[in-house]
Symmetry: C2
Subunit: 392 residues, 2 copies
């Protein structure tokens, strides 16, 4: 096990009706909040009314900034920063999924950052403070409700970069699985792939003596797969949504990756897809992850045997570890297929013409100094291109 530093202070208020407590929960921290959300669905569902009623009951004023889109845009972040400064906002309340929350985090950081907040993305630069963010989660997927990350798309530069810092974890998140009942089926599917990937990126490691976190990863993955299929069969299954949503938070609050070298190659490869083609992050991950596994597993066969056996339930002869691994990957593909997720880039509408460009951007070869990606297996741009090619 490696040394680690775990700090995940987000308060998670979880269960039926918790969105109605938001005013009371925020009262100690804010007199005026920025209500940040996406489009009309929060209004249609009545959620907007319940949240604004809760704020008003607690005497919390609010101004609004809506219009966050999947793969949240830097231009709206700039708008939010200006608005928070102008309106003397105390806290940003993000009502939505990962895109809204990531946008809120970027705004929160930007309000107190002396410069262009985009300068921080893709770096490990420190910040002094930020405007706190709270969330009412409407889509379990990105894990941003308690994670230390924010991913923003610079639409001008066609770049999608992240900023990670324990200081940007939300102050608190209200998570009511009932809010997930009306999600479109493809968002369920993409969300599950994203949550699983958050575990995979931490699970696949060359670090040894990691019994606890191996097990935490495996349990989280099995919970996600089992309950995704249950929800898929009944979109109003509260208990299955609750386990899925809770697992999505645990998948990305940092705990299951502590003390392990992490990978993150699949996320980096996928970010190039969605930066250019604006595809659903989880759908991109579902295409790339099994392909990455096939490409990388020979570098640490035992790790992948453990995945096949402990996560995918493969049984068989340990004298043929390749067969075990390939059966595990095949079952993962089958699971993604059952969830209705794509298996190729072409199904995502991505042609072959820009694969090399994306491979070079993922590894920074496009910007002069190539930096291989991936913790378990180092991938150079040619490797990334090879992986893209296998699933074109």
């Amino acid at each position: 096990m490696q040394n680690f530093d775990f700090y995940s202070p987000t308060r998670v208020v979880f269960g039926r009706g918790t969105e109605n407590q938001i005013g009371e929960l925020l009262k100690p921290y804010a007199k005026k909040v920025l209500l940040h959300y996406g489009g009309g669905s929060v209004k249609k569902s009545g959620l907007y009314d319940r949240i604004t009623a809760s704020l008003q009951e607690s005497g919390i004023a609010f101004v609004e900034l809506s219009g966050v889109k999947p793969n949240p845009r830097l231009s709206l972040v700039y708008e939010g920063i200006a608005l928070c400064r102008r309106e003397n906002i105390d806290l940003i309340l993000a009502v939505g999924g990962g895109s809204v929350i990531d946008s809120a985090k970027a705004i929160g950081v930007g309000v107190f950052y002396d410069g262009d907040v985009w300068e921080l993305y893709g770096t490990a630069r420190e910040i002094e403070r930020m405007l706190p963010v709270a969330t009412v989660l409407t889509i379990p997927a990105a894990g941003s409700e308690s994670s230390n990350g924010s991913v923003i798309t610079n639409e001008e530069k066609q770049l999608k970069l992240s900023y990670d810092n324990d200081k940007i974890r939300p102050l608190l998140s209200a998570v009511n699985p009932e809010l997930f009942f009306t999600l479109p089926r493809e968002q369920l599917a993409a969300g599950v792939a994203d949550m699983m990937s958050h575990v995979f990126e931490r699970y696949f490691t060359n670090t040894t003596h990691t019994d606890l976190t191996d097990g935490l990863c495996e349990v989280t993955l099995k919970t996600l797969m089992k309950n995704a299929l249950l929800v898929s069969g009944d979109m109003q299954n509260y208990d299955a949504w609750a386990d899925l949503g809770f697992a999505g938070t645990v998948a990305h609050n940092g705990l299951v990756g502590m003390g392990r070298a992490q990978d993150w190659a699949c996320h980096r490869m996928e970010h190039e897809l969605s930066a250019i083609y604006d595809v659903a992050h989880g759908a991109g991950l579902a295409v790339l992850t099994p392909a990455w596994m096939e490409y990388a597993y020979r570098d640490n066969v035992n790790m992948f045997v453990q995945f096949a056996v402990n996560v995918m339930g493969v049984e068989g002869s340990y004298r043929d570890p390749d067969a075990l691994v390939l059966e595990g990957i095949s079952r993962l593909r089958e699971f993604f297929r059952k969830m209705g997720l794509p298996a190729t880039l072409s199904e995502l509408g991505i042609g072959e013409d820009r694969l090399e460009e994306m491979a070079k951007k993922a590894t920074k070869a496009a910007f002069g100094a190539e930096q291989p990606i991936g913790g378990l297996k180092k991938l150079y741009w040619q490797d990334v291109l090879n992986i893209y090619e296998t699933v074109k």
Copy 2:
């Protein structure tokens, strides 16, 4: 799954050498700390010198209060409260195991409490604020390095009571598994029983649809048992101590019990033993837990079958669930025996003369209004006495 509220903001800085960072870690929070510890072992080991050197390097002044004993005493807490007030202390640095940390928490609460801090113990009363506590952990067992609890013994009244509140979680904890190398073997054994019990108390539940936390509990228990045996065979096995210590923190930071009705009967029954006989908490738990399982399992056989199969690795016919359960309990007893833990009260030096008194104190029958204990199975004083009797 039940609604829940999870808030566990303790920063855990884990790994080799982390105790030497303590001055740097505390610098943003304190100019003057109370250094709180037990006896001479921290001086003999050189830990005291390393910690005071780290504090001095960071310009942090300190005053000392040593003398914390296992089952920490209220009288020393009073002394600490007076000292902190007199010396204008900013933060209490607990160097030790659960007893030292629990004592530090009680002092921290008491400093700002307008009244006798003992009034809070055994209640759910709210507090406004406390003096923050940081820890350098020397014994993985109590989980107090990130838990929301403090257990104090009122030596005059022979009462051992706890106070639980998310506000009393430590600010940060430095955990270096190397510090555990010199622990006496019986402290390893008692510590493991305590850590396992923190999971058992959350695991055994009548709440259904708890896939994620079922799995988290099971993984934590298996990690504890496997690595306890490894350490038992080699007290300097860093990797095994690391998994054991990390699992001990996860066992008691609250996560694995979220959304579940919890039990806590074994802890309540054990507190009566150590309040009167001053036995090691973990040793008492090792005696009582299997006896409680045998007494309680018929109230929820399926829960105990899951324990037997998923935790203890029992295989067999599911058409005879009692046999599966009893085999699981038998394997747990065998594990405790291998660790050198006692199986009877008489091995702890506890006779039969005060069993009824303890049973009546545990259930408050001794104080007029009986309150049954236990979430999975309600235990009245006669039940507690029955359990004590089976292991006398």
